[in-house]
């Protein structure tokens, strides 16, 4: 079993996390991600999906279990710059221009000025933000800021992209457009993506597999492979198979709730 772990992009084995406060966030998570896969983690708030992402990124230490990224311990992978991360907020540095924000990781990798400049141009081309090089982050819309943050995460060509609800703060229309752009970027870049989201259609639209998590304590309830044809586009969202998969994820989410949802006596409504 551990023999083939080296060929996986990410290999999570028996990971649990209990916080210092005593809250158990995750119990016994097992997940293997193949190179080039696009895996979404979906689940109710507090199910620990972001914690899984941070453990893979070596930003949080698991209480038990092990994580291998490209066959290396997560810590080594972080030091080797194996992954780029995108948060819900773009987390751009106000005092840097757009171009300087994108080149931040390149500076830390010691790239020459000329090489950085060329790569920044290439990345801004990719996220369709040419011409905004010298803008300040606060002059951009939320969607544009998030595209800068994606350009920054991809600038040093990491094999793995960790995305923590990157489009959660955006309006529906911007979100759908960025979903499409992200797929195009992913197909071009050929990297592996782990994507945390609240949105069922988003998860289905983007992913090769949707990992459904349940809460208290967080664990994996189901893994649903998404067999929608690629390249996916606007028509994909109107495909019958798309709706079937959305329903499947929704049912898995509902089934994952251990505690029966409280039923209001007055209305019989299920919360």
């Amino acid at each position: 079993m551990s023999v083939d772990a080296g060929s996986k992009a990410v290999s999570i084995r028996g990971v649990s996390k209990t916080f210092r406060t005593g809250t158990t966030a995750l119990v016994d998570i097992d997940l293997e991600v193949e190179p080039g896969e696009f895996v979404s983690l979906i689940g109710p708030s507090g199910c620990g999906k972001s914690t899984v992402l941070r453990i893979v990124g070596d930003l949080v230490q698991p209480s038990a279990g092990s994580v291998l990224v490209n066959g290396k311990p997560a810590h080594r992978a972080r030091l080797d710059h194996d992954y780029g991360i995108v948060f819900q907020d773009a987390v751009l540095y106000d005092w840097r221009t757009v171009a300087k924000n994108v080149s931040l990781p390149l500076e830390m990798l010691g790239w020459s000025r000329a090489r950085r400049k060329a790569r920044v141009e290439e990345m801004l081309e990719l996220v369709e933000l040419r011409g905004f090089e010298s803008s300040r982050p606060w002059q951009l819309s939320g969607g544009m800021q998030q595209r800068v943050s994606i350009a920054r995460a991809l600038s040093f060509d990491p094999s793995l992209l960790l995305m923590d609800e990157p489009f959660g703060a955006l309006d529906e229309m911007t979100r759908e457009r960025l979903n499409l752009e992200l797929l195009q970027i992913w197909e071009k870049a050929g990297s592996t993506v782990i994507f945390v989201t609240h949105s069922i259609p988003e998860a289905v639209f983007l992913s090769t597999r949707v990992v459904v998590m349940s809460s208290r304590p967080g664990r994996i309830a189901d893994v649903i492979p998404v067999d929608l044809p690629r390249p996916r586009g606007v028509a994909t969202r109107e495909d019958t198979r798309f709706f079937e998969l959305v329903t499947a994820v929704r049912e898995a989410l509902a089934a994952g709730r251990v505690e029966a949802p409280p039923r209001s006596l007055a209305t019989g409504e299920v919360y």
Binding site: R54, G57, L59, R78, L79, D80, H81, Y83, G84, I85, F87, D89, V91, Y93, D94, W95, R96, L104, P105, E107, M108, L109, R136, P137, W138
Partner: protein
């Protein structure tokens, strides 16, 4: 602001003039009312306690000693001397305050142990320590103005330390995690994230420190018996107040102007250095 550069500049100039004009009107109005009614509360108003504004302004051109240079010349001389002390103290205090904040931000234990003493240092009156510093350092051959600069630094380092500390801690968790995801060292996180994030905080402190260092320099001169600066001038003109009250008032105006100039320099530097979202400027 929109609406034409010319009228904008004019309006700005007008707003700048409103307060001095109002002050002059208040001063002269108060003086006139108290003198005509003869009210003695809270103090008797006459040309000694409240000289006319024009006679204060006239004082600038009067010689302080018979045949000597006009007052303005000796005051500008003194102001330059005090400004040197203030700038040296400002820079010294700024560096110490910044260094202290970096240290406190990185060593939790120190923050708890040292901070109360840092706060305590500011409640010791500068008048109490000034003679010790000036005489103590003087016996080691340190020039008087350098000792005064140290006293100015005493007042300057505190706001810088407190504000910088706050600024260094201001980046949110994600911003730090982003740096960690690049395997950044503490050093790199300090210079690429924490220090740039704290610049607006630092400049807020520097504005306070600019005026505090002027006060420190003026006050530091008096117990040190340094005659060359504005502090010396104030002590001197105090003694002759009943004979020449306008000289002291003229000196006060120069002190205030000096603080303003220093403050203005920091504001200009802030505009050049700090590039933040308008709503994020502290």
């Amino acid at each position: 602001m929109q609406g034409g550069n010319g009228s904008g500049t004019l309006r700005k100039l007008a707003t700048l003039l409103v307060v001095p004009v109002a002050l002059i009107v208040l001063w002269e109005g108060y003086k006139w009312l108290w003198q005509t009614t003869g009210w003695g509360w809270p103090f008797v108003v006459n040309d000694t306690t409240m000289p006319h504004v024009y006679s204060i302004l006239q004082a600038f051109s009067q010689p302080t000693t018979t045949g000597g240079p006009p007052l303005i010349q000796s005051l500008l001389h003194a102001a330059w001397f005090t400004m040197k002390e203030a700038i040296a103290g400002f820079l010294l205090g700024g560096v110490i305050g910044f260094g202290l904040a970096v240290l406190l931000a990185h060593v939790r234990l120190l923050e708890r142990g040292l901070l109360p003493f840092v706060v305590g240092s500011q409640t010791v009156p500068i008048l109490a320590i000034a003679p010790m510093v000036v005489i103590g350092l003087g016996s080691k051959g340190v020039q008087g103005w350098k000792s005064v600069a140290i006293l100015a630094a005493w007042l300057t380092f505190f706001p810088v330390a407190i504000n910088t500390l706050r600024g260094l801690k201001s980046p949110d968790r994600r911003a730090v995690e982003l740096m960690q995801s690049y395997a950044a060292s503490q050093w790199s996180i300090l210079w690429r994230l924490r220090v740039p994030a704290s610049l607006p905080y630092i400049f807020t402190a520097l504005k306070i420190s600019a005026t505090a260092s002027v006060i420190g320099a003026i006050i530091g001169e008096t117990p040190a018996s340094i005659q060359d600066g504005l502090g010396g001038a104030i002590v001197n003109f105090n003694q002759y107040y009943s004979l020449q009250p306008t000289f002291l008032w003229a000196t006060n105006i120069i002190c205030a102007a000096m603080g303003l100039v220093f403050f203005g320099l920091v504001v200009i530097a802030e505009h050049l250095v700090v590039r933040r979202a308008p709503e994020n400027v502290v």
